[in-house]
C-alpha cells in the first residue's frame, strides 16, 4: 500500500503540474517531494532487516502476455529509493534562489522522473522494469532539451539515441529470456532468474553483453561514455543533478538486480573484461578531468571515474565489493549533487565556469569555501567522509580480485586528489580578481540545501553501519544465489 503511494503520488502531482500552469509550482513540487520523503521514512521504519522482499504489490496488468504490475522493496532497493526521495526535495529547493524562473512543467517533469526512478528501483517484473527504465528517460530528455543551454537539441538527441540503443538491446534480451520461461510465459523476476540460469554459457554470454550494454551506457562505463560530458554540461543544473546523482545509479542497480543473478555464468565469463573496461574508464576520465577548464565538465569526468570504480568493484562478485558499491552509490549521489550545486552558485554570481577566470573566492565567501572543502574531501575519499567508506571497500575488493587491477584502480584516489585540489586551489584560494570581487557568501536558502548535505557527508563517513545493515542481508542473499550456482556448475 505504502509502496503504491510512493509510486503514484509523484505521478499524480506531476500530471497536475503539467496540466495546470501555476505561479507557485515550485512550492507545490517541494511539498509533494517532502510528502514523498516522509513516506519513504515510514517505509524504513517498517522495514525489517532481512533478505525478504517487502511491501509487495502484485496486480495483473496484461494477462495475455504474463505481465504483472509487480513491485517490492528489499535492502538494495531501499537504499536507492532513499537516495531518490532525499535528493529530489533538495534538487527542487536548489531552484528557489535561481535567477531564472522555471515553469510549472519543469517541476512536473522532475516529479515524473522521480516516479520512474522509484519504479526502476522497485520493479519486480521484467517488463515493468523496462517501462520505468524508459519512462525515466523521457522527462530528463525534455528537461535537458527545453531548459538546456546552447546546442541542447543536438547533444540531448545524441544522449537519447545512445541510451535508447542500449535499452532496446536489453529489451531484446529480456524478451529472449521471457520466451525461455515455461509455457504461458512470464516476466516475473524469479521466472526470468531461473530461465536465465538454465541457459548454456554461450547464450548467457550474448545476453550478458546485450543487457550490460544498456547499463554500461547509462552509468556510463568507458567506452560508452561519449554522450555524458556534453549532456552534463549543456543541461540545466537540476537536469545534471538528476542525471548524475540518481539516474546513473539506475545502471548500477540494473547490474545488481537484472544482470548478475540472471546470467551468473555470463558474468563470471565476461566480468573480467567489464572490470578492465571500468578501470580503464577510471584512469582515462581522471586524466581528462585534470586538464579540464570548465568546472562542470570537470565534475562530469570525475563522475565517470567514480562510477567506473563502483562497477568494477561490483563485478568482482564479492560481499565487500557489493556493499562498497551500495554505500558508494549513496555517497556519490550526495557529493555530486553538492558539487553541481556549488558550481551553479558560482556560475550564477560570476557568469563563468572557467576555472582560470575564478580565484580568491575563499576571501570573499568563506562559508562557501568551507562547504566546498568538505564536499571535495568526500569526493576524494578522505577518511571520515562518506566517500572513504565506499572507495575503501571497493578498492579492497578489487585488490582481492586481482592485485594489479586493484593497484591501478587505487590510482583514482591520487588522481582524484590531483584534480579536486587543483580545482580548489584555482577557484577558492589565491587573489580575488575582477570576476570574483563582487562575490557574496551563501544566502540562507543556499545554506538550507548545503548544510544538511555536508552533515550527511560527514555522518555517513563516521558511522556508515546503519546504511550498510540495510542492504547487507539482501546482498548476502544475492551472493548466495550466485555462488550456489557456480558451485553446482563445478
Amino acid at each position: 500500500m505504502i509502496l503504491s503511494f510512493l509510486l503514484f503520488w509523484p505521478l499524480l502531482t506531476s500530471v497536475f503540474l503539467l496540466l495546470v500552469k501555476l505561479k507557485n509550482a515550485k512550492e507545490i513540487a517541494l511539498f509533494a517531494s517532502i510528502v514523498e520523503l516522509i513516506a519513504s521514512i515510514v517505509i524504513i521504519s517498517q522495514f525489517t532487516k532481512s533478505a525478504d522482499v517487502q511491501f509487495i504489490i502484485n496486480i495483473p496488468w496484461i494477462r495475455s502476455l504474463g505481465i504483472n504490475f509487480s513491485a517490492g522493496i528489499d535492502g538494495i532497493s531501499l537504499l536507492l529509493v532513499l537516495l531518490t526521495t532525499v535528493l529530489v526535495p533538495f534538487i527542487i529547493l536548489s531552484t528557489f534562489g535561481s535567477s531564472e524562473k522555471r515553469s510549472s512543467s519543469f517541476y512536473g517533469l522532475i516529479l515524473m522522473m522521480q516516479m520512474a526512478l522509484i519504479g526502476v528501483f522497485t520493479a519486480r517484473d521484467g517488463f515493468l522494469f523496462y517501462i520505468f527504465w524508459e519512462m525515466a528517460l523521457i522527462p530528463i530528455y525534455f528537461i535537458c532539451l527545453i531548459w538546456g543551454g546552447e546546442g541542447s537539441g543536438k547533444i540531448t538527441l545524441k544522449f537519447f539515441i545512445y541510451t535508447l540503443a542500449g535499452s532496446l538491446f536489453m529489451l531484446v534480451a529480456l524478451v529472449y529470456l521471457y520466451l525461455q520461461t515455461p509455457d504461458a510465459h512470464s516476466f516475473d523476476i524469479d521466472a526470468l532468474y531461473s530461465a536465465g540460469r538454465s541457459l548454456p554459457l554461450q547464450e548467457q554470454s550474448i545476453l550478458f553483453w546485450a543487457i550490460f550494454l544498456a547499463f554500461a551506457i547509462k552509468m556510463p562505463v568507458f567506452p560508452f561514455h561519449t554522450w555524458q560530458p556534453d549532456t552534463y554540461t549543456v543541461s540545466p543544473v537540476q537536469g545534471t543533478m538528476l542525471l548524475s546523482a540518481i539516474m546513473l545509479k539506475m545502471g548500477i542497480y540494473g547490474v545488481i538486480r537484472w544482470l548478475i543473478p540472471v546470467v551468473p555464468m555470463g558474468v563470471q565469463q565476461w566480468g573480467n573484461v567489464a572490470i578492465i573496461l571500468s578501470v580503464i574508464g577510471i584512469i582515462y576520465a581522471s586524466c581528462i578531468a585534470i586538464i579540464q577548464k570548465d568546472f562542470k565538465r570537470l565534475i562530469a569526468y570525475s563522475s565517470i571515474a567514480h562510477v567506473g570504480l563502483i562497477s568494477a568493484g561490483l563485478l568482482t562478485l564479492t560481499r565487500i565489493g557489493m556493499q562498497g558499491a551500495m554505500i558508494q552509490m549513496l555517497s556519490h549521489g550526495i557529493v555530486v549533487f553538492a558539487s553541481f550545486y556549488i558550481i551553479e552558485i558560482i556560475f550564477e554570481r560570476t557568469k563563468t565556469r572557467d576555472l582560470s577566470e575564478l580565484g580568491g573566492i575563499r576571501n570573499v565567501a568563506p562559508k562557501l569555501a568551507s562547504v566546498f572543502l568538505v564536499v571535495m574531501m568526500g569526493s576524494v575519499a578522505l577518511p571520515l567522509t562518506s566517500g572513504f567508506v565506499g572507495e575503501f571497500l571497493l578498492i579492497n575488493s578489487l585488490v582481492q580480485y586481482q592485485m594489479i587491477i586493484g593497484a591501478i584502480a587505487g590510482l583514482t584516489i591520487i588522481l582524484g586528489a590531483v584534480y579536486m585540489l587543483r580545482t580548489f586551489q584555482k577557484a577558492m584560494s589565491g587573489e580575488t580578481n575582477k570576476t570574483t570581487v563582487g562575490f557574496f557568501d551563501l544566502t540562507s536558502q543556499e545554506k538550507i540545501v548545503l548544510y544538511p548535505i555536508v552533515i550527511l557527508i560527514v555522518a555517513i563517513g563516521v558511522y556508515p553501519t546503519p546504511l550498510l545493515e540495510i542492504s547487507e542481508a539482501a546482498v548476502n542473499n544475492l551472493l548466495v544465489i550466485v555462488s550456489d550456482f557456480s558451485a553446482s556448475v563445478k
Binding site: 517501462i131 532496446l168 524478451v175 529472449y176
Partner: protein, 457 residues
Amino acid sequence: MNALYVICGLGFLSLLAEITNLKKGLILAIIPGIIAATILMVMDWNTTIHYYSDMLVFDNFSVAYTTLILVISGVWFWMSGAYFKDQPHQTDRSALILFAMSGAIIMVSFANMAMLFLGVEILSISLYVLAGSTKESLLSNEASFKYFLMGSFATGFLLMGIALIYGATGSFAILDIAAYIDTNSFVLPGFFYVGVLMMLVGMAFKISAVPFHFWAPDVYEGAPTTITAFMSTVVKIAGIGAFYRVFSYIFFPVQSSYIIVLQTITVLTLLVPNVTAVYQISVKRMLAYSSVGHIGYILLAFISNSITSSGTVFYYLASYSITSIAAFSVLNEVEKNKGALGFDGLYKRNPLLAVVMTISLMSLAGIPPLAGFFGKYMVFTQAISNGYSGLVIIAVITSLIGVFYYFKVIIAMFVKPNNGLPISLSVSTSILMILLLILILAIGVFPDMLISLLSRK
C-alpha cells in the same frame, strides 16, 4: 454487413445532396452514419455470416478490421472539416471518400478473389481522383497522375495473378483455393507459383512495400494533407487486411515458395524508408516515408508466423493508424496557418498541438508506455519466438534511426525560435486532439483488450 450498406448508402446520399442542395447538413449526417455503421459492425462480432453466395464473409477478422476502418474514418471526417467546408465539389469529395471506405471494407472481408479485385478497384479509383482534388495545384495533379499510373500497373499484376491461380485451381473462392492447395500441394503447376508471386507484387504495391514504394512519397506529398492522412491510415489498414487474408488464409501451405521474396521485401522495407526519412526536410514527406517504414514492422511480424501473428498485426495497425491520424491532424492544423512556416517553435505558438505531435511522434518512434511501443514490443516478441532474432536486430537499428528523424521535429517544436503568430484551434479540434491523446495513452497502457481480440493460437 449492415455497416457496408450504411456506408454505401451514405455515399449515394452525398451524391444526391448536390442536387437537393443539402450540402450544409451533409457532414452532420455522415458522422452519425459512421457511428451507426460502427455499432452495427460490432454487433456482427462472433457471427461469421457469408453473403452473396460466399462472396463476402464477416468473420471476426473482418469485423475487427472493418471496425478499425470505420473508427479511423470517423476521426478522419472530424479532423478534415476544412477540406469540405467552403470548397467546390464538396459532395463529390465526401462521396468519393465514402466509396473508398466501402472498397476498404470489401478488401478486408472478401471471400472471393473477384471481390478482392473489386474492393481494390473501388478504393483505388476513388483515391486517384481524391489525390488530385486540389485542382489548381500542380503537385496534386502530379500525385494523382503518378498514383493512377503506378496503381493501375499494380492492379494489372494482381489481376494476372488471380487469373493464373484460377487457371491452376479452378476457383475464385478462397476456401476452395485453399482446399485445393491443401490436397494437391505436390502437383500444382509452375504457373500457379507465378500467379502467387504476381499477387505478391500487386499487393506489395498496394501496401507500398519496398521496392514497390516509389510512388508513395510523391503521392503523399502532392495530395492534399487530409487525403494523405486517409491514405496512410485507412488505405493501409485495408491493404494489410487484404494482404493478410490472401497470404495467411490461402497461400500459407505454399509459403516456402515465396517466403524468401517476402523476407527480402521485409528487410528492404525496414531499411530503405527509415534511412531515406532522415534526409527529408518536409514533415509531410518524412511522415510518408515513416508510414512505409511501419509496414516493415508489420511484415516482420507476418513473416515470422502468418498464423499466430494476427493479434500482433492488428494491434500494430491499430496503434499505428491512431497515432498517425493524430500526427496528420496536427500537420493539417499547422498547414492551415499560412502565416507560419513549419513546426519551428510550435510549443510557444500552440502548446496543445505541440504536445499532441510530440506524443504521436514518440509513439511512432516506439517509446514506452505509448501505443507504438507496445506494437513494436509485440512484433519483436513474435519474431524472436519464431527464430528471427537477426531481423529483430535490424528492426532495432531502424527504430533507432526512426528516433532520429522523429525527434528532429520534436526538437524543432520546442527549441527553435518561434517564427509566427499563435495558432488558434476551434473547440471541436481541441476536443479531437485531447481525445486522440487519451487514446494513444490508453491503448498503450491497457493493450490487453486489443491484443486478445484476434489471437489465433
